[in-house]
Protein backbone atom coordinates (compact mmCIF):
# COMPACT_ATOMS: atom_id res chain seq x y z
CA UNK A 1 0.00 0.00 0.00
CA UNK A 2 1.47 3.33 -0.95
CA UNK A 3 1.74 6.06 1.66
CA UNK A 4 -0.97 8.20 0.07
CA UNK A 5 -3.48 5.35 -0.01
CA UNK A 6 -2.68 4.54 3.62
CA UNK A 7 -3.31 8.18 4.63
CA UNK A 8 -6.62 8.12 2.74
CA UNK A 9 -7.76 4.79 4.23
CA UNK A 10 -6.77 5.91 7.73
CA UNK A 11 -8.54 9.24 7.23
CA UNK A 12 -11.66 7.36 6.16
CA UNK A 13 -11.41 5.09 9.24
CA UNK A 14 -11.17 8.10 11.55
CA UNK A 15 -14.11 9.74 9.78
CA UNK A 16 -16.08 6.47 10.20
CA UNK A 17 -15.31 6.46 13.91
CA UNK A 18 -16.30 10.12 14.27
CA UNK A 19 -19.59 9.53 12.46
CA UNK A 20 -20.39 6.63 14.79
CA UNK A 21 -19.96 9.15 17.60
CA UNK A 22 -22.34 11.57 15.90
CA UNK A 23 -24.92 8.86 15.36
CA UNK A 24 -24.74 7.87 19.01
CA UNK A 25 -24.85 11.35 20.47
CA UNK A 26 -28.02 13.33 20.94
CA UNK A 27 -26.18 16.64 21.38
CA UNK A 28 -24.66 16.62 17.96
CA UNK A 29 -27.82 15.71 16.15
CA UNK A 30 -29.60 18.43 18.08
CA UNK A 31 -27.04 21.11 17.28
CA UNK A 32 -26.76 20.13 13.63
CA UNK A 33 -30.45 19.69 12.85
CA UNK A 34 -32.61 21.49 15.38
CA UNK A 35 -30.58 24.69 15.50
CA UNK A 36 -30.87 25.63 11.79
CA UNK A 37 -34.58 24.84 11.78
CA UNK A 38 -35.01 27.01 14.84
CA UNK A 39 -33.15 29.91 13.22
CA UNK A 40 -35.08 29.66 9.98
CA UNK A 41 -38.36 29.83 11.86
CA UNK A 42 -37.31 32.50 14.37
CA UNK A 43 -35.82 34.90 11.85
CA UNK A 44 -38.34 34.15 9.15
CA UNK A 45 -41.34 34.83 11.30
CA UNK A 46 -40.15 37.08 14.15
CA UNK A 47 -38.26 39.61 11.98
CA UNK A 48 -39.76 38.51 8.69
CA UNK A 49 -43.04 40.35 9.08
CA UNK A 50 -41.31 43.69 9.43
CA UNK A 51 -38.62 43.02 6.83
CA UNK A 52 -40.74 41.87 3.92
CA UNK A 53 -42.56 38.64 4.74
CA UNK A 54 -42.23 35.90 2.15
CA UNK A 55 -39.60 37.85 0.22
CA UNK A 56 -37.47 38.19 3.35
CA UNK A 57 -37.77 34.47 4.12
CA UNK A 58 -36.42 33.73 0.67
CA UNK A 59 -33.61 36.25 1.20
CA UNK A 60 -32.87 34.82 4.64
CA UNK A 61 -32.20 31.22 3.69
CA UNK A 62 -28.71 31.76 2.25
CA UNK A 63 -27.80 33.57 5.45
CA UNK A 64 -29.03 30.73 7.66
CA UNK A 65 -27.23 28.15 5.53
CA UNK A 66 -23.92 29.93 5.85
CA UNK A 67 -24.48 30.63 9.54
CA UNK A 68 -25.21 26.95 10.16
CA UNK A 69 -22.09 25.80 8.34
CA UNK A 70 -19.96 28.38 10.13
CA UNK A 71 -21.27 27.23 13.51
CA UNK A 72 -20.61 23.62 12.56
CA UNK A 73 -16.89 24.40 12.72
CA UNK A 74 -17.42 24.30 16.49
CA UNK A 75 -17.92 20.53 16.09
CA UNK A 76 -14.35 20.27 14.86
CA UNK A 77 -13.18 22.34 17.81
CA UNK A 78 -14.99 20.27 20.41
CA UNK A 79 -14.32 16.93 18.73
CA UNK A 80 -10.56 17.39 18.51
CA UNK A 81 -10.23 18.93 21.91
CA UNK A 82 -12.23 16.12 23.54
CA UNK A 83 -10.18 13.45 21.75
CA UNK A 84 -7.04 15.12 23.02
CA UNK A 85 -8.28 15.24 26.60
CA UNK A 86 -9.51 11.66 26.61
CA UNK A 87 -6.20 10.30 25.35
CA UNK A 88 -7.65 9.10 22.05
CA UNK A 89 -5.16 11.19 20.06
CA UNK A 90 -2.30 9.67 22.07
CA UNK A 91 -3.62 6.25 21.29
CA UNK A 92 -3.64 7.11 17.57
CA UNK A 93 -0.16 8.59 17.79
CA UNK A 94 1.22 5.33 19.10
CA UNK A 95 -0.12 3.59 15.97
CA UNK A 96 1.63 3.50 12.61
CA UNK A 97 -0.48 6.23 11.01
CA UNK A 98 -0.04 9.83 9.96
CA UNK A 99 -1.39 12.83 11.85
CA UNK A 100 -2.71 14.06 8.50
CA UNK A 101 -5.24 11.21 8.60
CA UNK A 102 -6.46 12.24 12.04
CA UNK A 103 -7.09 15.80 10.88
CA UNK A 104 -8.51 14.91 7.49
CA UNK A 105 -10.77 12.30 9.09
CA UNK A 106 -12.07 14.87 11.52
CA UNK A 107 -12.72 17.59 8.94
CA UNK A 108 -14.37 15.09 6.56
CA UNK A 109 -16.74 13.72 9.20
CA UNK A 110 -17.67 17.27 10.17
CA UNK A 111 -18.29 17.98 6.51
CA UNK A 112 -20.70 15.04 6.43
CA UNK A 113 -22.53 16.53 9.42
CA UNK A 114 -22.65 19.85 7.55
CA UNK A 115 -24.19 18.18 4.51
CA UNK A 116 -26.99 16.82 6.69
CA UNK A 117 -27.47 20.20 8.37
CA UNK A 118 -27.55 21.87 4.95
CA UNK A 119 -30.21 19.49 3.62
CA UNK A 120 -32.34 19.93 6.72
CA UNK A 121 -32.10 23.71 6.42
CA UNK A 122 -33.09 23.57 2.75
CA UNK A 123 -36.05 21.29 3.49
CA UNK A 124 -37.18 23.67 6.18
CA UNK A 125 -36.74 26.51 3.69
CA UNK A 126 -38.91 24.73 1.13
CA UNK A 127 -41.65 24.43 3.73
CA UNK A 128 -41.73 28.18 4.31
CA UNK A 129 -41.66 29.15 0.66
CA UNK A 130 -38.00 29.26 -0.32
CA UNK A 131 -37.31 27.94 -3.83
CA UNK A 132 -34.32 27.48 -6.09
CA UNK A 133 -35.19 29.93 -8.84
CA UNK A 134 -31.98 29.75 -10.81
CA UNK A 135 -30.73 26.97 -13.07
CA UNK A 136 -29.96 23.47 -11.87
CA UNK A 137 -26.25 23.93 -12.54
CA UNK A 138 -26.17 27.19 -10.63
CA UNK A 139 -27.81 25.43 -7.68
CA UNK A 140 -25.19 22.67 -7.80
CA UNK A 141 -22.49 25.33 -7.89
CA UNK A 142 -24.10 27.03 -4.88
CA UNK A 143 -23.98 23.81 -2.85
CA UNK A 144 -20.37 23.32 -3.89
CA UNK A 145 -19.45 26.83 -2.73
CA UNK A 146 -21.17 26.09 0.59
CA UNK A 147 -19.36 22.78 1.11
CA UNK A 148 -15.92 24.15 0.30
CA UNK A 149 -16.63 27.00 2.68
CA UNK A 150 -17.75 24.58 5.41
CA UNK A 151 -14.59 22.52 4.91
CA UNK A 152 -12.44 25.64 5.21
CA UNK A 153 -14.21 26.77 8.39
CA UNK A 154 -13.64 23.32 9.84
CA UNK A 155 -9.87 23.82 9.59
CA UNK A 156 -10.10 27.05 11.58
CA UNK A 157 -11.99 24.99 14.15
CA UNK A 158 -9.26 22.36 14.06
CA UNK A 159 -6.62 24.92 15.02
CA UNK A 160 -8.75 26.28 17.87
CA UNK A 161 -9.46 22.77 19.12
CA UNK A 162 -5.78 21.84 19.15
CA UNK A 163 -4.52 24.92 20.96
CA UNK A 164 -7.30 25.11 23.56
CA UNK A 165 -6.27 23.98 27.04
CA UNK A 166 -9.52 22.06 27.66
CA UNK A 167 -12.74 21.03 25.88
CA UNK A 168 -14.65 23.57 27.99
CA UNK A 169 -12.36 26.40 26.93
CA UNK A 170 -12.49 25.08 23.38
CA UNK A 171 -16.25 25.17 23.36
CA UNK A 172 -16.44 28.85 24.24
CA UNK A 173 -13.44 29.77 22.09
CA UNK A 174 -15.02 27.86 19.22
CA UNK A 175 -18.30 29.74 19.39
CA UNK A 176 -17.55 33.25 20.63
CA UNK A 177 -16.05 34.63 17.40
CA UNK A 178 -18.76 33.10 15.23
CA UNK A 179 -21.65 35.20 16.51
CA UNK A 180 -20.28 38.61 15.42
CA UNK A 181 -18.85 37.03 12.27
CA UNK A 182 -22.22 35.70 11.16
CA UNK A 183 -24.25 38.74 12.17
CA UNK A 184 -21.97 41.41 10.73
CA UNK A 185 -22.63 40.09 7.23
CA UNK A 186 -25.35 40.20 4.62
CA UNK A 187 -26.94 37.12 6.19
CA UNK A 188 -29.90 38.72 7.92
CA UNK A 189 -30.06 42.32 6.74
CA UNK A 190 -28.40 44.07 3.78
CA UNK A 191 -25.03 45.47 4.74
CA UNK A 192 -26.11 48.86 3.33
CA UNK A 193 -28.36 49.29 6.33
CA UNK A 194 -25.40 49.21 8.73
CA UNK A 195 -23.52 52.32 9.94
CA UNK A 196 -20.19 53.22 8.27
CA UNK A 197 -17.39 51.09 9.71
CA UNK A 198 -19.69 48.14 10.38
CA UNK A 199 -20.81 48.23 6.77
CA UNK A 200 -17.23 48.08 5.53
CA UNK A 201 -16.53 45.10 7.78
CA UNK A 202 -19.71 43.40 6.60
CA UNK A 203 -18.82 44.04 2.95
CA UNK A 204 -15.39 42.51 3.31
CA UNK A 205 -16.50 39.68 5.59
CA UNK A 206 -15.91 36.49 3.57
CA UNK A 207 -19.24 35.18 4.86
CA UNK A 208 -20.96 38.02 3.04
CA UNK A 209 -19.30 36.92 -0.17
CA UNK A 210 -20.42 33.32 0.30
CA UNK A 211 -23.95 34.42 1.22
CA UNK A 212 -24.27 36.81 -1.70
CA UNK A 213 -22.84 34.31 -4.14
CA UNK A 214 -25.19 31.56 -2.97
CA UNK A 215 -28.17 33.90 -2.94
CA UNK A 216 -27.47 34.89 -6.51
CA UNK A 217 -26.89 31.33 -7.71
CA UNK A 218 -30.17 30.22 -6.14
CA UNK A 219 -31.90 33.19 -7.79
CA UNK A 220 -33.02 34.48 -4.40
CA UNK A 221 -32.18 38.12 -5.02
CA UNK A 222 -34.96 40.31 -3.72
CA UNK A 223 -35.47 43.92 -4.83
CA UNK A 224 -34.97 46.28 -1.93
CA UNK A 225 -32.91 43.84 0.10
CA UNK A 226 -30.18 43.63 -2.41
CA UNK A 227 -26.65 44.64 -2.91
CA UNK A 228 -25.59 47.19 -5.41
CA UNK A 229 -22.99 49.03 -3.46
CA UNK A 230 -20.33 48.97 -6.15
CA UNK A 231 -17.61 47.74 -3.80
CA UNK A 232 -15.27 45.02 -5.10
CA UNK A 233 -16.50 42.19 -2.82
CA UNK A 234 -20.13 42.95 -3.70
CA UNK A 235 -19.43 42.91 -7.41
CA UNK A 236 -17.29 39.77 -7.32
CA UNK A 237 -19.07 37.77 -4.66
CA UNK A 238 -18.49 34.34 -6.24
CA UNK A 239 -14.81 34.94 -6.94
CA UNK A 240 -14.26 36.34 -3.45
CA UNK A 241 -16.11 33.39 -1.90
CA UNK A 242 -13.79 30.89 -3.64
CA UNK A 243 -10.75 32.96 -2.84
CA UNK A 244 -11.66 33.31 0.84
CA UNK A 245 -12.23 29.55 1.24
CA UNK A 246 -8.98 28.72 -0.50
CA UNK A 247 -7.00 31.23 1.55
CA UNK A 248 -8.47 29.84 4.77
CA UNK A 249 -7.50 26.31 3.73
CA UNK A 250 -4.03 27.41 2.64
CA UNK A 251 -3.40 29.17 5.96
CA UNK A 252 -5.15 26.93 8.47
CA UNK A 253 -4.23 23.49 7.17
CA UNK A 254 -0.49 24.02 7.77
CA UNK A 255 -1.15 25.87 11.05
CA UNK A 256 -3.34 23.02 12.31
CA UNK A 257 -0.86 20.38 11.25
CA UNK A 258 1.87 22.24 13.10
CA UNK A 259 -0.34 22.55 16.17
CA UNK A 260 -1.01 18.80 15.99
CA UNK A 261 2.70 18.05 16.03
CA UNK A 262 3.18 20.50 18.91
CA UNK A 263 0.47 18.93 20.99
CA UNK A 264 2.23 15.72 20.20
CA UNK A 265 5.40 16.86 21.88
CA UNK A 266 3.69 17.73 25.16
Amino acid sequence: MTAVVKVAVDGWMIAWRNLLHVRRSVDWAFAAVVQPVMFVLLFGFVFGGLLGGAAYREYLLAGILVQTLAFNSAFTVIGLSTDLRKGFIDRLRSLPMSGVSVMVGRTLSDLAVSVVAMLVTCLCGLLIGWRVRGSFLDAVLAFLVLLVFAFAMSWIGALIGLISPSPEAAQSAGLIWLTPLTFVSSGFVPEESMPGPLRVIAEWNPLTAVINAVRELFGNTVPGLDVASGSWPDDHALAYAWLASLVIVAVFVPLSMRAYRRVAAR
Binding site: M1, K6, V9, D10, M13, W16, R17, L20, H21, R24, S25, K86, G87, F88, D90, R91, L92, R93, S94, L95, P96, M97, A264, A265, R266
Partner: protein, 317 residues
Protein backbone atom coordinates in the same frame (compact mmCIF):
# COMPACT_ATOMS: atom_id res chain seq x y z
CA UNK B 1 20.30 -10.37 18.59
CA UNK B 2 19.38 -6.80 19.38
CA UNK B 3 17.55 -6.04 22.61
CA UNK B 4 13.82 -5.29 22.41
CA UNK B 5 14.39 -1.98 24.16
CA UNK B 6 17.71 -0.25 24.63
CA UNK B 7 17.74 3.17 26.31
CA UNK B 8 20.86 5.12 27.19
CA UNK B 9 21.02 8.38 29.16
CA UNK B 10 17.44 9.46 28.55
CA UNK B 11 16.73 13.00 29.70
CA UNK B 12 13.39 14.79 29.52
CA UNK B 13 12.62 18.07 31.27
CA UNK B 14 9.43 20.03 31.66
CA UNK B 15 10.57 23.58 32.26
CA UNK B 16 12.77 23.33 35.37
CA UNK B 17 11.51 19.89 36.34
CA UNK B 18 13.66 16.97 35.22
CA UNK B 19 11.18 14.16 34.72
CA UNK B 20 13.91 11.84 33.42
CA UNK B 21 17.48 12.44 34.42
CA UNK B 22 19.72 10.03 32.56
CA UNK B 23 17.81 6.76 32.59
CA UNK B 24 19.45 3.63 31.18
CA UNK B 25 17.52 0.44 30.68
CA UNK B 26 17.54 -2.66 28.53
CA UNK B 27 14.81 -5.19 27.83
CA UNK B 28 16.41 -8.32 26.36
CA UNK B 29 14.27 -9.94 23.67
CA UNK B 30 11.68 -12.33 25.06
CA UNK B 31 11.80 -11.03 28.62
CA UNK B 32 9.71 -8.84 30.90
CA UNK B 33 11.20 -5.74 32.46
CA UNK B 34 9.37 -4.23 35.42
CA UNK B 35 9.80 -0.47 35.66
CA UNK B 36 9.03 0.27 39.26
CA UNK B 37 8.66 3.55 41.08
CA UNK B 38 6.37 5.70 43.21
CA UNK B 39 3.93 8.17 41.67
CA UNK B 40 5.74 10.91 39.80
CA UNK B 41 8.96 8.92 39.50
CA UNK B 42 8.98 9.31 35.73
CA UNK B 43 7.53 5.95 34.70
CA UNK B 44 4.89 7.34 32.40
CA UNK B 45 7.30 9.85 30.89
CA UNK B 46 9.62 6.95 30.08
CA UNK B 47 6.75 5.04 28.47
CA UNK B 48 5.86 8.07 26.37
CA UNK B 49 9.45 8.35 25.17
CA UNK B 50 9.61 4.64 24.30
CA UNK B 51 6.36 4.81 22.35
CA UNK B 52 7.39 7.92 20.36
CA UNK B 53 4.73 10.07 22.00
CA UNK B 54 7.41 12.26 23.53
CA UNK B 55 10.76 13.31 22.14
CA UNK B 56 13.61 12.96 24.63
CA UNK B 57 15.82 16.02 25.23
CA UNK B 58 18.88 13.80 25.23
CA UNK B 59 19.80 10.15 25.12
CA UNK B 60 19.64 7.28 22.70
CA UNK B 61 16.56 5.07 22.61
CA UNK B 62 16.07 2.08 20.34
CA UNK B 63 12.94 -0.05 20.31
CA UNK B 64 12.99 -3.27 18.28
CA UNK B 65 16.24 -1.96 16.84
CA UNK B 66 14.73 1.33 15.60
CA UNK B 67 15.57 4.79 16.87
CA UNK B 68 12.51 6.42 18.49
CA UNK B 69 13.34 9.85 17.10
CA UNK B 70 14.57 9.19 13.58
CA UNK B 71 12.63 5.97 12.86
CA UNK B 72 9.46 6.61 14.81
CA UNK B 73 7.21 5.11 12.11
CA UNK B 74 9.09 1.79 12.31
CA UNK B 75 8.93 1.88 16.10
CA UNK B 76 5.15 2.37 16.00
CA UNK B 77 4.76 -0.60 13.70
CA UNK B 78 6.67 -2.74 16.20
CA UNK B 79 4.97 -1.81 19.46
CA UNK B 80 1.65 -2.29 21.17
CA UNK B 81 0.74 0.16 23.92
CA UNK B 82 -1.78 -0.31 26.66
CA UNK B 83 -2.23 2.86 28.64
CA UNK B 84 -2.51 3.71 32.28
CA UNK B 85 -5.86 5.29 31.54
CA UNK B 86 -7.45 2.90 29.14
CA UNK B 87 -7.52 4.95 25.95
CA UNK B 88 -10.37 3.01 24.46
CA UNK B 89 -13.24 4.77 22.75
CA UNK B 90 -16.31 4.98 24.96
CA UNK B 91 -18.78 5.55 22.14
CA UNK B 92 -17.68 2.54 20.09
CA UNK B 93 -18.45 -1.08 20.78
CA UNK B 94 -15.72 -3.51 21.84
CA UNK B 95 -15.62 -4.95 18.35
CA UNK B 96 -15.48 -1.54 16.66
CA UNK B 97 -12.59 -0.47 18.88
CA UNK B 98 -10.46 -3.46 17.88
CA UNK B 99 -11.51 -3.29 14.23
CA UNK B 100 -10.49 0.38 14.07
CA UNK B 101 -7.09 -0.33 15.60
CA UNK B 102 -6.58 -3.23 13.18
CA UNK B 103 -7.36 -1.08 10.15
CA UNK B 104 -5.04 1.66 11.41
CA UNK B 105 -2.24 -0.90 11.73
CA UNK B 106 -2.79 -1.45 8.01
CA UNK B 107 -4.92 -4.64 8.10
CA UNK B 108 -7.37 -5.16 5.25
CA UNK B 109 -11.03 -5.09 6.29
CA UNK B 110 -11.43 -8.89 6.44
CA UNK B 111 -8.19 -9.42 8.35
CA UNK B 112 -9.07 -6.67 10.84
CA UNK B 113 -12.50 -8.25 11.35
CA UNK B 114 -11.04 -11.71 11.99
CA UNK B 115 -8.37 -10.42 14.34
CA UNK B 116 -10.93 -8.41 16.34
CA UNK B 117 -13.14 -11.51 16.74
CA UNK B 118 -10.16 -13.62 17.72
CA UNK B 119 -9.01 -11.18 20.40
CA UNK B 120 -12.52 -10.72 21.79
CA UNK B 121 -12.68 -14.49 22.26
CA UNK B 122 -9.21 -14.62 23.79
CA UNK B 123 -10.09 -11.92 26.32
CA UNK B 124 -13.52 -13.39 27.13
CA UNK B 125 -15.34 -10.39 25.70
CA UNK B 126 -17.39 -12.16 23.02
CA UNK B 127 -20.65 -11.58 24.85
CA UNK B 128 -19.90 -7.87 25.12
CA UNK B 129 -18.56 -7.49 21.57
CA UNK B 130 -21.42 -5.33 20.33
CA UNK B 131 -21.93 -3.31 23.49
CA UNK B 132 -20.68 0.25 23.77
CA UNK B 133 -17.55 0.60 25.87
CA UNK B 134 -19.27 2.97 28.25
CA UNK B 135 -21.32 0.04 29.52
CA UNK B 136 -18.18 -2.02 30.29
CA UNK B 137 -16.85 -2.56 33.80
CA UNK B 138 -13.35 -1.32 34.68
CA UNK B 139 -11.89 -4.80 34.29
CA UNK B 140 -13.52 -5.38 30.90
CA UNK B 141 -12.31 -2.01 29.66
CA UNK B 142 -8.77 -2.83 30.70
CA UNK B 143 -8.94 -6.20 28.98
CA UNK B 144 -10.10 -4.53 25.79
CA UNK B 145 -7.32 -1.96 26.02
CA UNK B 146 -4.80 -4.78 26.41
CA UNK B 147 -6.37 -6.60 23.46
CA UNK B 148 -5.96 -3.40 21.42
CA UNK B 149 -2.23 -3.41 22.16
CA UNK B 150 -1.95 -6.94 20.76
CA UNK B 151 -3.90 -6.50 17.52
CA UNK B 152 -0.85 -6.43 15.26
CA UNK B 153 1.03 -9.11 17.26
CA UNK B 154 3.78 -6.59 18.05
CA UNK B 155 7.18 -7.91 19.09
CA UNK B 156 7.41 -5.29 21.84
CA UNK B 157 4.51 -4.62 24.20
CA UNK B 158 4.50 -1.64 26.56
CA UNK B 159 2.06 -1.79 29.46
CA UNK B 160 1.71 1.35 31.54
CA UNK B 161 0.32 0.32 34.93
CA UNK B 162 -1.84 -2.40 33.42
CA UNK B 163 -3.53 -3.39 36.69
CA UNK B 164 -3.91 -0.09 38.52
CA UNK B 165 -7.44 0.08 39.87
CA UNK B 166 -8.34 -3.50 38.95
CA UNK B 167 -9.99 -5.99 41.26
CA UNK B 168 -7.85 -9.00 42.27
CA UNK B 169 -9.52 -11.37 39.83
CA UNK B 170 -8.93 -9.06 36.85
CA UNK B 171 -5.37 -8.52 38.02
CA UNK B 172 -4.69 -12.25 37.95
CA UNK B 173 -6.23 -12.42 34.46
CA UNK B 174 -3.93 -9.66 33.25
CA UNK B 175 -0.89 -11.41 34.69
CA UNK B 176 -1.91 -14.56 32.90
CA UNK B 177 -2.15 -12.63 29.61
CA UNK B 178 1.30 -11.13 30.08
CA UNK B 179 2.78 -14.58 30.70
CA UNK B 180 1.12 -15.90 27.59
CA UNK B 181 2.50 -12.98 25.59
CA UNK B 182 6.02 -13.81 26.62
CA UNK B 183 5.47 -17.50 25.88
CA UNK B 184 4.52 -16.40 22.37
CA UNK B 185 7.84 -14.62 22.05
CA UNK B 186 6.98 -10.99 22.80
CA UNK B 187 9.13 -8.70 24.92
CA UNK B 188 7.31 -6.67 27.55
CA UNK B 189 8.08 -3.50 29.43
CA UNK B 190 5.62 -2.93 32.21
CA UNK B 191 5.40 -0.11 34.69
CA UNK B 192 3.79 -0.68 38.02
CA UNK B 193 3.51 0.62 41.54
CA UNK B 194 2.78 -2.87 42.78
CA UNK B 195 5.90 -4.62 43.92
CA UNK B 196 4.10 -7.91 43.93
CA UNK B 197 3.36 -7.50 40.24
CA UNK B 198 6.99 -6.89 39.36
CA UNK B 199 7.96 -9.80 41.61
CA UNK B 200 5.59 -12.19 39.86
CA UNK B 201 6.04 -11.09 36.25
CA UNK B 202 9.36 -9.40 35.71
CA UNK B 203 12.58 -11.13 34.73
CA UNK B 204 14.41 -8.02 35.73
CA UNK B 205 13.46 -4.89 37.60
CA UNK B 206 14.53 -1.28 37.30
CA UNK B 207 13.55 0.98 40.18
CA UNK B 208 13.34 4.67 39.36
CA UNK B 209 12.70 7.59 41.63
CA UNK B 210 12.64 11.26 40.64
CA UNK B 211 13.76 10.47 37.13
CA UNK B 212 16.81 8.42 38.14
CA UNK B 213 17.49 4.73 38.28
CA UNK B 214 18.08 3.90 41.94
CA UNK B 215 18.44 0.14 41.59
CA UNK B 216 18.33 -2.64 39.06
CA UNK B 217 18.54 -6.42 39.03
CA UNK B 218 16.36 -9.48 39.33
CA UNK B 219 13.81 -9.61 42.07
CA UNK B 220 16.04 -12.04 44.02
CA UNK B 221 19.10 -9.86 43.61
CA UNK B 222 17.26 -6.86 44.92
CA UNK B 223 16.00 -8.78 47.91
CA UNK B 224 19.46 -10.13 48.64
CA UNK B 225 20.67 -6.58 48.88
CA UNK B 226 18.57 -5.85 51.95
CA UNK B 227 19.52 -9.00 53.83
CA UNK B 228 18.10 -12.37 53.12
CA UNK B 229 15.46 -12.56 55.83
CA UNK B 230 13.66 -10.64 58.51
CA UNK B 231 13.50 -11.86 62.11
CA UNK B 232 10.56 -10.68 64.14
CA UNK B 233 10.15 -11.21 67.89
CA UNK B 234 7.31 -10.25 70.26
CA UNK B 235 8.00 -10.08 74.01
CA UNK B 236 5.47 -10.68 76.79
CA UNK B 237 6.43 -7.68 78.87
CA UNK B 238 6.86 -4.18 77.52
CA UNK B 239 9.68 -3.56 80.00
CA UNK B 240 11.76 -6.16 78.17
CA UNK B 241 11.67 -4.25 74.86
CA UNK B 242 15.02 -2.41 75.35
CA UNK B 243 16.65 -5.76 76.13
CA UNK B 244 15.12 -7.25 72.95
CA UNK B 245 16.43 -4.36 70.86
CA UNK B 246 19.90 -4.87 72.34
CA UNK B 247 19.90 -8.55 71.42
CA UNK B 248 18.60 -7.91 67.91
CA UNK B 249 21.28 -5.27 67.38
CA UNK B 250 23.91 -7.84 68.36
CA UNK B 251 22.70 -10.58 66.04
CA UNK B 252 21.12 -8.59 63.19
CA UNK B 253 22.54 -7.19 59.97
CA UNK B 254 20.94 -3.76 60.35
CA UNK B 255 19.26 -1.49 62.89
CA UNK B 256 16.22 -3.17 64.47
CA UNK B 257 12.81 -1.60 63.97
CA UNK B 258 10.67 -1.38 67.11
CA UNK B 259 6.91 -1.34 67.45
CA UNK B 260 6.31 -0.23 71.02
CA UNK B 261 2.58 -0.70 70.94
CA UNK B 262 2.73 -4.33 69.87
CA UNK B 263 5.80 -5.09 72.06
CA UNK B 264 7.50 -6.22 68.89
CA UNK B 265 10.80 -5.61 67.10
CA UNK B 266 12.25 -6.90 63.85
CA UNK B 267 15.63 -6.86 62.19
CA UNK B 268 17.11 -7.95 58.85
CA UNK B 269 19.39 -10.97 59.17
CA UNK B 270 21.71 -12.84 56.83
CA UNK B 271 21.32 -16.47 57.90
CA UNK B 272 17.82 -16.70 59.26
CA UNK B 273 17.46 -19.97 61.21
CA UNK B 274 20.88 -19.76 62.80
CA UNK B 275 20.38 -16.18 63.92
CA UNK B 276 16.95 -17.04 65.23
CA UNK B 277 18.38 -19.72 67.57
CA UNK B 278 21.16 -17.38 68.63
CA UNK B 279 18.72 -14.58 69.44
CA UNK B 280 16.45 -16.86 71.44
CA UNK B 281 19.39 -18.25 73.44
CA UNK B 282 20.56 -14.77 74.34
CA UNK B 283 17.07 -13.62 75.31
CA UNK B 284 16.64 -16.73 77.43
CA UNK B 285 19.95 -16.07 79.16
CA UNK B 286 18.70 -12.59 80.07
CA UNK B 287 15.35 -13.88 81.33
CA UNK B 288 13.27 -12.23 78.61
CA UNK B 289 9.96 -13.98 78.05
CA UNK B 290 9.26 -14.37 74.33
CA UNK B 291 5.66 -14.49 73.16
CA UNK B 292 6.10 -15.04 69.45
CA UNK B 293 8.88 -15.54 66.93
CA UNK B 294 8.76 -15.43 63.16
CA UNK B 295 11.12 -15.42 60.24
CA UNK B 296 10.04 -13.68 57.02
CA UNK B 297 11.54 -13.77 53.61
CA UNK B 298 11.93 -10.11 52.68
CA UNK B 299 9.36 -8.69 50.32
CA UNK B 300 10.11 -6.45 47.44
CA UNK B 301 8.38 -3.77 49.48
CA UNK B 302 11.31 -3.75 51.89
CA UNK B 303 13.70 -3.20 49.02
CA UNK B 304 11.53 -0.53 47.54
CA UNK B 305 11.11 1.41 50.78
CA UNK B 306 14.80 1.18 51.51
CA UNK B 307 15.75 2.34 48.02
CA UNK B 308 13.36 5.25 47.83
CA UNK B 309 14.35 6.29 51.38
CA UNK B 310 17.95 6.32 50.38
CA UNK B 311 17.10 8.40 47.36
CA UNK B 312 15.38 10.85 49.70
CA UNK B 313 18.49 11.27 51.78
CA UNK B 314 20.57 11.74 48.65
CA UNK B 315 18.27 14.53 47.56
CA UNK B 316 18.38 16.34 50.91
CA UNK B 317 22.13 16.34 51.44
Amino acid sequence: MTAAVEARGVVKSYQAHRALDGVDLTVPTGTVLGLLGPNGAGKTTMVRVLTTLLRPDAGDVRVAGYDVVTQSADVRRSIGLSGQYAAVDESLTGYENLYLVGRLYGFKAAAARDRARELLALFRLEQAASRLLRTYSGGMRRRLDLAGALVARPPVVVLDEPTTGLDPRSRLDTWEMVRRLVDDGASVLLTTQYLEEADVLADSIVVIDRGRVVERGTSDELKARVGSERLEIVVADRADLPELVRVLTEVGAAEPVVDDHLRRAHVLVHVGPKTLVEALNRLDARDVRVLDVSLHRPKLDDVFLMLTDRADEGEDS
